[in-house]
């Protein structure tokens, strides 16, 4: 074994596999994810291309030895538009290409339209054991504003159906919408918490570049609650969720203890993940370092590339120690559990003190934005509630 400190240790955490399905029935006006609308989705072609890319990348990853797989996540786009057979064959492939944990977490994102909900049973039979429903709101007017294809009634029915099929269910809501008062959000959240099983993602509406909302916002036609109201709603959200037994384990994610999304924790803990499909990102530890990978964003050119070479890879960079330090802090401080300093040093090749501005660190500790916990495995740096509320500004000043 070489003692080259430049090679970031993977830490032995299981690998996460992300599969991107880039198609949607319609583009939502707030969404800047890599999603595309087509008259007819070329199911067979994309199924074959995804399987081929998976096999190709698995071969690269396991060249030095077998890798253990801890989770699979079908995201998008709208992966509930995939043929269940495609999902089934990708899961089968993954199980044969990697050593899998017995409790392998396999999540599918689904929209609560009647068509997609009608296929939930087939997805379960394909191997899916966790669904994440894009409900977004329980208010019909808000759903219309957000450009969603379903009603509040359909959303509730979808949850009922899912509950009968899956042990683990999560759903998304978007709040701090235009004209939404803190009181209205409180009411909607209380209504949602009755329906929740063990996991919830609660996102504040943000205006992203290139979206329809951005255009409206620029023209003053879309006015979001101000900073104060946003802060109030955010703090209240955590309080209300806690009374229902859901703890904030990440900036926007809430779960009962043990019900956290293991797949998403991989990103936040900065462990290895393989991303396949158009525009998917990956972080993979290979013999020569930690690779940041990105695949071709446009669906058809991606497929063409895969068909020609076996892979839709567009970019593959080996990250420097500084890059790794920045990324690990950017992700890790989103988590309530924080970043263990020892793991940080192993993964980035530098002690945490070298990655942080000492003046800002001292001030943030004093202000109560950050704390350093002494745990049995060593010191952990974590952001408090107050710190997470101002995380962008904090990271911008803190991370060197």
């Amino acid at each position: 074994m070489q003692s080259d400190v430049q090679i970031p240790a993977n830490g032995g955490a299981p690998l996460a596999l992300y599969v991107h399905w880039p198609f949607c029935l319609a583009k939502c006006p707030y969404c800047d994810f890599n999603s595309h609308v087509r008259d007819a989705i070329p199911q067979a072609r994309f199924a074959a291309a995804l399987r081929r890319e998976l096999a190709h990348e698995a071969a690269r990853l396991t060249a030095d030895g077998p890798r253990r797989l801890g989770s699979i996540f079908f995201g998008g786009g709208t992966p509930s538009l995939m043929a269940p057979e495609t999902v089934a064959s990708l899961i089968t492939d993954a199980r044969s290409l990697f050593a899998t944990a017995p409790d392998l977490e396999i999540t599918l994102e689904a929209n609560p339209t009647s068509v997609e909900i009608g296929r939930l049973r087939a997805f379960r039979d394909a191997g899916i054991n966790r669904v994440s429903l894009g409900i977004q709101s329980l208010d019909d007017k808000a759903l219309h504003l957000l450009g969603r294809q379903h009603s509040a009634g359909q959303a509730i029915a979808a949850l009922e159906t899912a509950r009968a099929l899956f042990d683990r269910i999560s759903f998304d809501l978007i709040y701090a919408r235009p004209d939404q008062s803190p009181a209205a959000w409180r009411a909607e959240l209380n209504q949602a918490l009755v329906l929740v099983s063990d996991h919830l993602s609660l996102y504040q509406l943000t205006i992203e570049p290139g979206t329809r909302f951005e255009g409206l916002h620029r023209q003053g036609l879309l006015v979001l609650p101000d900073e104060e109201a946003g802060a109030l709603m955010y703090e209240e959200t955590a309080t209300v969720a806690a009374t229902h037994g859901l703890a904030a384990y990440e900036v926007s994610n809430y779960a009962r203890p043990g019900a956290e999304s293991r797949h998403n924790l991989t990103y936040w803990r900065y462990d290895d993940y393989l991303g396949i499909g158009p525009g998917a990102h990956g972080r993979m530890t290979l013999a020569d370092g930690l690779h940041a990978t990105r695949r071709h964003r446009a669906p058809e050119p991606w497929a063409e590339r895969v068909e020609r070479t076996g892979s839709g890879l567009m970019q593959d960079d080996i990250l420097t120690s500084r890059d790794r330090a920045r990324e690990m802090l950017l992700m890790g401080l989103r988590l309530t559990e924080g970043v263990p300093e020892a793991r940080f040093a192993r993964r980035t090749g530098m002690p945490m003190t070298e990655a942080l501005d000492p003046v800002i660190l001292a001030a943030a500790l004093e202000e109560g934005y950050l704390v350093r916990d002494q745990a049995p495995g060593g010191t952990i740096l974590r952001a408090t509630n107050a710190g997470r509320l101002r995380l962008e500004a904090l990271l911008g000043a803190l991370v060197l």
């Binding site: 992300y18 994810f33 995201g75 996102y203 504040q204 509406l205 943000t206 900073e227 104060e228 946003g230 802060a231 955010y234 990440e250 900036v251 926007s252 990103y267 936040w268 900065y270 993940y273 991303g275 998917a280 990102h281 990956g282 972080r283 940041a292 990105r294 890059d323 920045r326 990324e327 950017l330 992700m331 989103r334 003046v359 800002i360 001292a362 001030a363 943030a364 202000e367 934005y369 997470r388 509320l389 101002r390 995380l391 962008e392 500004a393 904090l394 990271l395 911008g396 000043a397 991370v399």
Partner: protein
């Protein structure tokens, strides 16, 4: 052409308030004497700098030599000396006036006498000028020539019975002005056999010819090929060219007593040519220099900084180019923690400051920020030493200061009666002491002594606003007096922001400190940590504001596995920090300081 007998020469200047028609009258005189054809006339020939033309003011002195066949059958040489029209250039004006024997006092027949007119006309009287009042714009329906004539007699105290009534715009009675010049002004005196004494009236840099010097010969002859000596510093030059402005440059062999013209003597920079200096013949020098020479001294100073730090070298080049043509303006490099690299610049007055600033932005395309203007204080140390102080940053610790003196001015303000109350209030707020208050029709004339310090601090703007633009203002320096002055520092999280510190009278310190703190509170965006803004005299805090910490700044989503995007945003954020100034744990965008300084003016 240069052998004109003294009796046929008349040298005159024109005194007028802005907009009362000085340049238009000058154009008409040039036209009437056939110096330029109508086609060659561009409006206001004399004001040839773009900025001068736009503001209707003259910065550099200029002359035009005209020939006029008078009614007495003789042909006269009329030299028009166009003088700088603003009090900032009072000394330059006095030298221009010293080159003439008389003045036309042009007054708008509908507006009457203005403050600026007064100051200039008193200077002309001091220069022993014969003054010919000219009432302009008599063709306008609002003209009241009789009232204005009476006003001239009453306010200025010179006879105005024979005032020439004209309309420079239509050309009405221009002939009357020319005849008055010939019949009422005295001819110059001088002896062309005596050693040369020529007054240096002004100089400027011509990119083709080098430095051009404007002179008025008092005694002797100034000849091409002569070795001349500057009597103030003994510098010697060979005269390459002698000429007159007609109004274009026309070379001549020599200039005799009473004549005005230019010379060109391979001089590198105008800094070597001091206005008011005496030129003499190096081989046969005059025994004494002409009276009244004073080196030019800046009265107002401020820091000039490029908004974009990369423009620093460009600013240095631009300043040195401007200085080629304007020796009255001074600059030295300085550094500010808040604003970066820039220059401390000295000016003859506020208008001069504004002109230089505008030329830098217009002609050199520089985006600049100016710190609050400061006057020149005299600081006496306890060890008996005196030093001049124009940068608040240089003010030493109070314990070594025995006393400080500040410059005062005498200001003349003319204002319609209805705004008088507001103007008087403004003057007393600014520590003004009333010297005189008289009425001229429905206009009041208030004469105040004021500390210059109070005038450089947004006085013009306030005066304009309280009088709805109807007040006219002029001033003269009036010595130094001891005063209770303090330096106010502005602190951000206990660290001083050098560019914002200023010197003020103790009585004004608190309110001014408070207003700057309040302004900064508005301008500085909320940050991760709370920000304390304080104004302090020494260690005593006199005003305080707190900017609370931002309440929320977090991105809800984390873009799936796209961490690169987050990292790139962070890198961009770091790039943006180059425009920030760090004060301990907070970073303030430089733009906030710039905005605070801009609001001052």
């Amino acid at each position: 052409m240069t052998d004109t007998p003294l009796s046929l020469i008349r040298n005159f200047s024109i005194i007028a308030h802005i907009d009362h028609g000085k340049s238009t009258l000058a154009d008409r005189l040039i036209q009437a004497c056939g110096a330029l054809t109508a086609r060659e006339m561009t409006n206001q020939v004399l004001d040839n700098m773009e900025l001068e033309r736009e503001r209707g003011i003259t910065i550099k002195a200029q002359t035009v030599r005209l020939t006029y066949p008078a009614k007495d059958g003789k042909t006269y040489v009329l030299n028009l000396m166009d003088t700088p029209g603003h009090v900032d250039f009072a000394y330059e004006v006095s030298r221009s006036l010293a080159a003439c024997e008389g003045s036309l006092l042009v007054v708008d027949a509908s507006q009457g006498v203005e403050a600026q007119t007064l100051a200039n006309v008193y200077q002309a009287i001091d220069a022993h000028h014969e003054i010919v009042p000219v009432l302009n714009k008599v063709d306008l329906p609002a003209a009241e020539p009789e009232r204005v004539r009476a006003q001239i007699e009453e306010v200025i105290g010179i006879p105005a019975d024979d005032a020439v009534q004209i309309s420079a715009k239509t050309g009405l009675n221009i002939e009357g002005v020319l005849e008055a010049l010939v019949t009422r002004l005295p001819p110059p005196v001088g002896d062309d056999t005596r050693p040369l004494q020529a007054l240096l009236v002004d100089s400027w840099y011509d990119p083709y010819l080098g430095v051009i010097i404007l002179v008025r010969v008092k005694e002797g002859r100034l000849k091409r090929g002569m070795r001349i000596r500057m009597m103030s510093n003994g510098a010697v030059y060979n005269v390459d060219q002698v000429g007159v402005f007609a109004p274009r440059m026309v070379p001549v062999e020599d200039l005799g007593p009473g004549e005005m013209g230019y010379i060109n003597a391979a001089i590198k920079t105008v800094a070597d040519c001091n206005v008011g200096d005496t030129l003499t013949d190096d081989r046969r020098p005059a025994e004494t220099a002409l009276e009244g020479f004073k080196p030019s001294i800046p009265v107002v100073w401020c820091g000039l900084y490029p908004v974009d730090a990369d423009d620093f070298e460009k600013l240095r080049d631009s300043l040195s180019k401007l200085r080629l043509n304007d020796a009255s303006f001074h600059y030295e490099a300085e550094t500010s923690a808040a604003l970066g690299f820039g220059f401390r610049c000295g000016f003859l007055g506020l208008l001069h400051l504004e002109i230089i600033q505008e030329r830098l932005s217009r002609e050199f395309n520089l985006d600049l920020i100016a710190t609050a203007p400061s006057v020149v204080y005299r600081l006496y140390r306890t060890n008996g030493e005196m030093e001049e102080l124009h940068n608040p940053a240089d003010m030493p610790d109070g314990s070594v200061i025995e006393r400080i003196e500040e410059p005062w001015i005498v200001a003349t303000i003319m204002v319609p009666d209805e705004y008088l109350g507001a103007v008087l209030t403004l003057c007393s707020e600014r520590r003004g002491i009333q010297k005189d208050l008289t009425y001229v029709g429905n206009r009041a004339m208030a004469v105040y002594r004021l500390p210059l310090n109070e005038v450089v601090f947004d006085f013009y703007d306030r005066l304009k606003s309280v009088s709805r633009g109807y007040a006219s203002f002029d001033y003269q320096m009036d010595g130094y007096e001891e005063s209770d002055l303090v330096r106010i520092s502005i602190l951000v999280n206990l660290e001083p922001v050098d560019a914002l510190s200023f010197i003020a009278h103790r009585s004004a310190a608190e309110s001014r400190g408070r207003s700057i703190c309040a302004k900064l509170k508005e301008l500085i965006p909320r940050q991760l940590f709370k920000i304390a803004i304080q104004a302090a005299i020494g260690s005593r805090v006199i005003a305080r504001e707190t900017i609370g910490a931002m309440s929320k700044d977090v991105t809800a989503k984390c873009y799936g596995g796209d961490i690169s995007r987050k990292r790139k945003l962070l890198e961009k954020q770091k790039e943006g920090k180059k425009r920030m100034r760090q004060f301990g744990k907070v970073e303030i965008p430089q733009s906030a300081f710039l905005a605070a300084l801009k609001m001052d003016h």
